[in-house]
């Protein structure tokens, strides 16, 4: 059974919150005296009206009695991401800075899903308000729209478990606190802390206040929107690159783990955690290979090779997608390697996208076990993560996830080939959207002009981004017929 009234009610509340956030952004046009004020006011009003309407429809919901089901949770999550993106695109569209609705929607969902692909050709001409809203979409989407709003404003008092399960990043983990809304608040605290620290560090490295805040928002969210056309390359500053590398890496760690490290001082937990070890290992190995290759095949000296290698490998693995230089100018071996790195993603329970290190670890251990099984047919071969045996059902769901993920990359690849994009780039775009990175590979540079893509390509990209961000199953589940049957 789907409780439509509850679903309406929750969506209505979520939209009202979005309307409030939009209204706050109107501060920027007033402060800077720019022309996008009308866009924010209108967007906020429209969103508020729709939110009210949805709440009216769901007014008589007796959710205390009937309770939310898992289905309701999945619907709310999937629909709220789409609705948030539709209403979030209003400021761009109404203010006329992005006159085309498809483009405005693309930009917004690319923000919320922390992809960071932009259809804006000249970012630097945009008003401050829209730029800030653009970064804020990433920051809100980083930990998940529903998670963010529910954790900040525990307004429902019911159904949080279902909602969080539907929006979870990575396989299920142990809870931080018996009450999910409390753990949510702890995680948000870590998130805010990372963002503030990042902004302060960037400011100290010489970035302007407005740019520091924007880049900090997008770094903590592992999003990758920049306020400059050339991304981080604009600043041409080694210290800024190192600061961003560090915070990208930090944001890729499981936030529950970061909480224990930051607030309980349990640093050893980090190095006991299998996923973190894999994340660190993958990053270091990729950096090593890329740095060596750069040193050999480009004019970079050792320091530049390491800095560029580290920055771009981290940007790709954490699925942030900042660039400090156009890496497609490097030899194809290196950018194809980065193209491989796009699969991995950082840790579950972080803001990053991709497959997540935990799944990679389980996948590799399962593969190793298959070889053992040939030699020892009677052996019981468990997969252990952080010393705990992964139950077979969880192992299987990781395998299924991986198959779906690969299949979607290939479907996307063929789709983009069909609409006339060249072969390397089509692969890059498909994987980049699904992993929420926003960079691609190929002969046209890593930040391709997404605005040139055919309309159908843009819509398909938004679909891939959402599927990738909600970890494949949450979206695909809603598209299955059995989800809608009343039993």
């Amino acid at each position: 059974m789907i409780h439509l009234k509850i679903v309406h009610r929750i969506l209505g509340v979520l939209l009202l919150i979005e309307s409030g956030i939009l209204l706050l952004c109107a501060f920027f046009p007033i402060f800077y005296g720019e022309k996008d004020l009308f866009g924010f006011i209108m967007a906020s009003l429209i969103t508020a009206c729709c939110g009210m309407t949805l709440m009216m429809i769901g007014k008589s919901a007796r959710h205390k009695e009937s309770g939310m089901t898992r289905r309701d949770g999945y619907i709310v999550v999937a629909v709220s991401w789409v609705l948030f993106s539709i209403f979030g695109s209003m400021p761009y569209y109404v203010s006329g800075y992005i006159p085309n609705f498809t483009d405005a929607y693309f930009e917004t969902i690319s923000g919320f899903t922390t992809t960071g692909a932009t259809i804006i050709d000249d970012i630097e001409t945009m008003p401050h308000g829209l730029l800030f809203w653009r970064s804020l979409t990433q920051w809100i989407g980083g930990l998940g729209i529903v998670f963010f709003t529910v954790a900040v404003l525990p307004i429902f008092g019911v159904g949080e478990v279902q909602l969080f399960a539907a929006e979870a990043i990575g396989p299920k983990r142990g809870k931080l606190h018996p009450r999910i809304s409390v753990s949510g608040r702890w995680i948000i605290t870590v998130y805010v802390l990372i963002t503030v620290l990042c902004a302060v560090c960037l400011r100290l490295c010489g970035m302007g206040v407005f740019d520091s805040v924007n880049h900090a928002l997008c770094t903590a969210a592992t999003g990758g929107f920049s306020t400059k056309n050339a991304s981080i390359a604009y600043y041409n500053s080694h210290s800024i690159e190192y600061v961003i590398t560090f915070f990208m890496f930090l944001s890729g760690i499981n936030y529950g783990l970061l909480f224990f490290v930051a607030f309980k001082g349990k640093v050893q937990r980090l190095f006991e955690d299998t996923e973190f070890k894999w994340y660190l290992g993958i990053t270091l190995i990729f950096t090593f290979i890329v740095a060596i290759s750069l040193y050999i095949s480009t004019p970079y000296d050792a320091a530049a090779s390491i800095r560029n290698g580290l920055f771009h490998v981290t940007a790709i693995i954490t699925t942030t997608g900042f660039t400090a230089t156009d890496y497609t100018q490097w030899p194809p071996f290196i950018w194809m390697l980065l193209g491989l790195g796009m699969y991995f993603g950082a840790c579950g329970g972080s803001t990053s996208g991709g497959m997540k290190s935990i799944r990679i670890a389980i996948l590799f251990k399962s593969m190793r076990n298959e070889f053992h099984r040939i030699l020892h047919p009677n052996a019981i071969l468990p997969v252990r993560v952080t010393g705990k045996v992964i139950p077979p059902a969880a192992r299987q769901s990781v395998l299924t996830f991986s198959v779906f993920f690969f299949a979607l990359v290939f479907i996307g690849w063929f789709f983009y080939l069909a609409i006339g994009i060249d072969i390397a780039e089509a692969y890059g775009i498909s994987l980049s959207c699904l992993s929420n990175i926003g960079l691609t590979i190929g002969d046209h540079g890593c930040n391709i002009p997404w605005s040139d893509m055919p309309v159908i390509g843009k819509w398909f990209s938004t679909f891939l981004m959402l599927v990738g961000r909600l970890e494949v199953f949450s979206v695909l589940l809603i598209l299955t017929p059995s989800f809608w049957k009343h039993r």
């Binding site: 020892h376 019981i380 468990p382 252990r384 045996v389």
Partner: protein, 445 residues
Amino acid sequence: MKIVIAGAGNVGIHLAKLLAGENQDIVLIDESEDKLSRLDSSFDLLTIQESPVSISGLKEAGAGNADLFVAVTTDESRNLISAQLAHDLGAKKTVARINNYEYLQPKNKEFFTRIGVDSLIYPELLAAKDIVDGMKLSWIRQWWEFAGGALVMMGIKLRDNAQILNKPLAELGKELPYHIVAILREGVTIIPSGHDTMQAGDLVYFMTMKKHIPHIRRIAGKEELPDVRDVIIMGGSRIAVRTAQLMPDYMNLKIIESDLAKCNALTEKVDDKVMIINGDGRDPSLLMSEGIQHTEAFVALTDNSETNILACLAAKRFGVTKTIAEVENIDYINMAEKLDIGTVINKKKIAASHIYQMMLDADVTNVKCLTFANADVAEFNVKEGAKITRNPVKDISLPRGVTIGGLIRGKEALIVTGNTQIQAGDHVVVFCLEGMIKTIEKYFN
């Protein structure tokens, strides 16, 4: 001395029998009348049919004025509660048997003392320690350390290739780096004197120091035996899990367990170094495919003593040099020895002797009950003016069946020979036939 034992399980009964032979006041509490009735008629002890966690039952058993209270039911929580209750009633020292490694950690010791449990005993862990020690020195059947490892005693099975066979001990030389404290021949324990000889097939107990171990290995003809690297354990019991955890990193372990559910449970308890195999450890084809020919040690730890003995025999046929069998049925121990199964592990004996040492006078810090040799090893601190200090050892008429193996003087370990003069303050290790400890105590006090 009044001793209350709660729980008439295997350990409890064995301990009760052991202590009853020592003329102590033993009270045994258990709920089961069956278990108690068999004991009551044949041993000199008092049985009380009550729950070990019942306050009135404990009062009736006189836990309030007990010198030692031992809780050894199979249930850890009941043991802890029972010991706590007894402590509150006034028992002087309480011991509880547990199944949880965490409880044994030194940092938790203070906690258990606070709640009234003075000592914890974990038979499976003790057994696992014995197994791992046995595999580290695979040519040795039994191994004890005294005084923190300064002195060691080893039981070695001599074969035809040993260099010291068929010579009276007195002719082996003076100032030897070892002292032969016992010989087990065809089930009979001999405490040897100068004219006894060693023969092929004897299990000989050497007392020596660690630095002389290679010398003993040579004279015992054990040099060509390989060190243990690959180990197969049959049966995924708790001892197996503990063994896996205590095993040094250079050893590779496979555990063969026939119950699939148990296999899955095992995976939760061990780490990636251990391979769990689902199958019957007695199946030769399975053993072959898991490489029994290249395995140096085979340990049988199923619940069934017969199975363990047979599996070890089968493993011997594959050429495994070190076999260890858990034999819980005490009657089989001698038979297992006759069948030439390497080391025999008996949880009850290990646990009971561990508790037994707690009961002995405060000066005695370690008594081990030897599985094979019907003998006890005790450590004493020699007191001022004790009988033993008056003459060199050879001139003191120690009763037959007692020999002094070695001593610690200051920080130095010494092997005791006939000419050794024992001094007050020495820490001596004495080897004697079963039940004689109380009678020899007077020589040292």
